[in-house]
């Protein structure tokens, strides 16, 4: 009727009726429940059954969780408190958390220096800003992000300020040789020369220079040894570093795997398949035990650094396959479109291919991130004190001998907060990168 005209047809309505409210049964909480929980008898039965199950769980768990044992200083004290309450199923012993939560967070890090890991974590959030929320954070913050690894390492391990500075100088050497040599040499060669110079600097000179400078100008904070690291601080240090390094390495591996250069391709495939074929625990044992055999005696190759390298390599291999999946999902036309405009290989990878391939792979990438972060608990096997390792250490104390659930619930909760945030972020990112159909 919409195409009839009022002048020619007398019965056409000229004024619109006011809009009516939709029936209450389709909107509001009731409408929501009707469409989502009680549509059809089968769904109704399922909803009721799940509701009952949740109620039953809460009925059994809540009395155990709500247990006034925060002040207790040992398991026995907990038992006395709970015994006095005469609870049928017992109660949780939260005293262990209130007494030891700092240890679960920081391991054996000296308490008067707790501000250092805390500050590094806060700065980490700032440094991640331009990477995670590109349109909300000023672009200049990226310079801080580039300095962040050095700042964080210095804050965590301490020592003289000259250490991070000479480390940065190595990268400055790479930058300078790229800048000045590319005009006379081809970029790849300039990069190689820069890296060689930087490595010479780091290995042969940096230590002496830093030592000399700190003798002249001793600025620094107290050094803290790696074996004092522990708890979530250790997990986050290993996890975040491995996550941040594995993505770029994984991208390069995925590209290498697609390369026309046979040698590059073979090396990438070999690496990926080898690492994926070996359990992470094996790699960690290699890091903790075997590497020492190969390294010249007396070299002090930090254990945390060794573990980080292994976890990074492990994560990179998985990342490479996830990224390869994204690359495979891109239509060939995208490469041809980029080629036909005269973009070179790296330009088309950076501007056309990777933004799309990574977007497709966001769910897989974030799953890998979450997996890596949780896998950091495996370091307890090589006797490092991650939260799980610490929970064993805490139980070794006679006061808390026998406490399991409370510790694991707490550790699980903290892990859940981190992993859940990552997964929410990935959903946010997917929504934000949505650009119409296809």
């Amino acid at each position: 009727m919409s195409d009839t005209h009022a002048e020619t047809v007398s019965y056409v309505r000229e004024t619109m009726l006011p809009q009516q409210e939709p029936p209450a049964s389709t909107v509001g909480p009731l409408g929501w429940a009707k469409t989502n929980l009680f549509s059809g008898w089968f769904n109704t039965v399922l909803s009721v059954l799940s509701g009952l199950f949740i109620l039953w769980l809460a009925y059994r768990l809540l009395p155990w969780i709500i247990s006034p044992t925060w002040q207790a200083t040992s398991l026995n004290e907990c038992r006395e408190i709970i015994g006095a309450l005469n609870k049928p199923h017992g109660g949780a012993c939260w005293g262990v958390i209130s007494e030891r939560w700092k240890q679960l967070m920081f391991g054996f890090y000296p308490p008067e220096h707790y501000w250092r890991p805390v500050l590094s974590l806060i700065l980490l959030l700032v440094a991640l800003g331009p990477l995670l929320f590109r349109h909300l954070v000023p672009a200049k913050v990226i310079y801080f992000s580039m300095l962040y690894p050095f700042i964080a390492a210095w804050l965590l391990w301490g020592g003289t300020i000259w250490n991070p500075i000479v480390a940065i100088l190595g990268f400055v050497i790479i930058g300078l040789s790229l800048k000045f040599l590319t005009s006379v040499l081809n970029p790849a060669l300039a990069l190689i020369i820069g890296v060689v110079l930087a490595v010479i600097w780091w290995v042969a000179l940096a230590g002496t220079v830093a030592g000399g400078l700190s003798a002249v100008l001793p600025i620094g904070i107290e050094a803290i040894a790696s074996r004092q690291f522990g708890g979530f601080m250790l997990s986050i240090t290993i996890g975040v570093t491995a996550i941040l390094c594995s993505l770029p390495i994984g991208i390069l591996l995925a590209l290498g795997r697609q390369s026309d250069l046979l040698l590059v391709k073979a090396m990438c495939v070999g690496f990926i398949e080898f690492i994926r074929g070996v359990p992470l625990i094996t790699l960690l044992f290699v890091a903790s035990v075997l590497l020492n055999i190969f390294l010249p005696p007396g070299t002090n190759f930090d254990i945390i650094l060794r573990v980080i390298i292994m976890v990074t390599l492990f994560a990179s291999a998985y990342m490479a396959e996830v990224v390869r999946g994204g690359l495979a999902a891109l239509p060939k036309g995208q490469y041809e479109g980029a080629d036909s405009l005269g973009l070179d290989y790296w330009q088309s990878q950076r501007l056309i291919i990777m933004p799309q391939a990574l977007k497709i792979s966001i769910p897989g990438i974030v799953s890998t991130f979450i997996g890596v972060f949780k896998d950091t608990t495996l370091v307890s096997i090589i006797s490092m004190f991650d939260p799980i390792g610490l929970s064993n250490a805490i139980r070794a104390d006679t006061a808390w001998n026998g406490v399991y659930w409370e510790l694991f619930i707490f550790i699980g909760l903290v892990f859940f907060i981190f992993c859940f945030s990552m997964s929410r972020y990935s959903m946010y990112l997917e929504r934000r990168l949505q650009t119409g159909h296809r």
């Binding site: 036309g333 041809e336 036909s340 405009l341 005269g342 501007l351 799309q356 119409g436 296809r438």
Partner: protein, 263 residues
Amino acid sequence: MSELAMDTPIDRSAMKVSDEVAIEIRNMNKWYGQFHVLRDINLTVNRGERIVIAGPSGSGKSTLIRCINRLEEHQAGQIIVDGTELTSDLKNIDKIRSEVGMCFQHFNLFPHLTILENCTLAPIWVRKVPRKEAEETAMHFLEKVKIPDQALKYPGQLSGGQQQRVAIARSLCMKPRIMLFDEPTSALDPEMIKEVLDTMIELAQEGMTMLCVTHEMGFARQVANRVIFMDQGQIVEQNEPEEFFNNPRSERTKLFLSQILGH
């Protein structure tokens, strides 16, 4: 396959063919593995020519024009574009690609970039044009293909015909001297074909050197100065459009024309 119904007569006065050679292909051969796709191709294209390449499916039309900007590599013979020979030298390839525009059957726009970004990307990164200037050029060409108001949308939000016109504008932003079209209208609904063909006609009237693989025989009649017929990897016949359609010489051409024109 539709005959192009033109409402405005085409002004052929500006479509001048100069003596200057734009593309020279000599004894070019190409294989896919064992399969001999292109056999002894010899073709000289002068500046300002509008060439339509026709032929049955699988005859190697796409492969031929994709060799011209090295989306495919040829194994024997020579291809010289604007005086530069296509070899495996990457510098030459990128140079030629930035001088030769290409439009694809499936547009190949970049879905993660806006229309404007699609058009400014290559000028900014390849030609190193300042962003502001690149945006002005892009808007100029988007106006020319009559979709300036879509500049901030994403390709996924446009119709097929609009997307193809954006793809043409994107190529034009590089100020190419030669344009290649590979069946630019075959993925489009009939009502959108005309808007794309109109854009191409306009381009031809400005004197652009064009090579089009197309089944639009009306377009070939009115715009092309030469029609090339390919079959089984060979150039079987080439002629002016009138001669080509009215007096095809080879049997294969006759058969093809009778099929495609439907009588």
